[in-house]
């Protein structure tokens, strides 16, 4: 069964909160293999977290 982009992006989001199940990972891998939009969504979701984490380290040196 193919995941829709809505389902795939939901799983990509949930992966930031919990480990995905094997079947979820398999479905996601298949979907991502042919969907560039969802691949970008996954990247951007991790970028957001990464930026926020690093902004907290950085902010003290900014003096604001």
């Amino acid at each position: 069964m193919m995941l829709s982009c809505e389902q795939a992006s939901k799983l990509l989001s949930e992966a930031q909160e919990r480990p995905l199940k094997l079947t979820e990972r398999a479905g996601l891998t298949m979907h991502l293999a042919m969907c560039q939009g969802c691949r970008e969504f996954g990247r951007q979701v991790s970028s957001l977290r990464d930026l926020i984490r690093r902004s907290e380290d950085h902010d003290d040196t900014q003096g604001k």
Partner: protein, 193 residues
Amino acid sequence: MSAEPVNPLADTDIEKLRQEMLAFARLQLNDAHLAEDAVQEALAGALKNSSSFSRKATLKTWVFSILRYKIADVLRGRYREPVQQECKDCSTDDDSYFDSAGHWQTGSAPRAWGNTDQLVTDEHFWRVFDACLEVLPGEQARVFMMREFVELDTHEICDALEIKPANLHVLLHRARLRLRACLSSSWFNAEAQ
């Protein structure tokens, strides 16, 4: 998690914040005791995690969003009742990002942002980021901040807000969809508006 050596909030900052919160809560609740309680609870929860906040403005936004939530609860008369909050933003069918088959709408499919490494030091970027966070619906903004800025886990957020994990996951998905779409059009110029 290791403790931060320096708490970014000085006592004077906290006291100032507390006074602002009290003034706000008294105005809303018209009851000094209830106001005091709501402020105390909102602050306690937030300060427990204050080491993860070095952006004071963000901490303030977040603490106030918790306070607003508590005040709303008091006003609704179901403060501390172990009832699942109704989650008006949790229905799954009002998304403009996907068509009826669940595929990205034309023009909504995420396009590459490019390298984001340098952005962390870019104040202009963070102003755009804060503006995008501000236009998120209240519930989405609140859970996103609890998750990403305070780094609470699913269990802690669900306990604090008395919502189910499934609802939380929907809210976070929505928040990320909106935030990334806003950043794409307002900063990265990645997709058509």
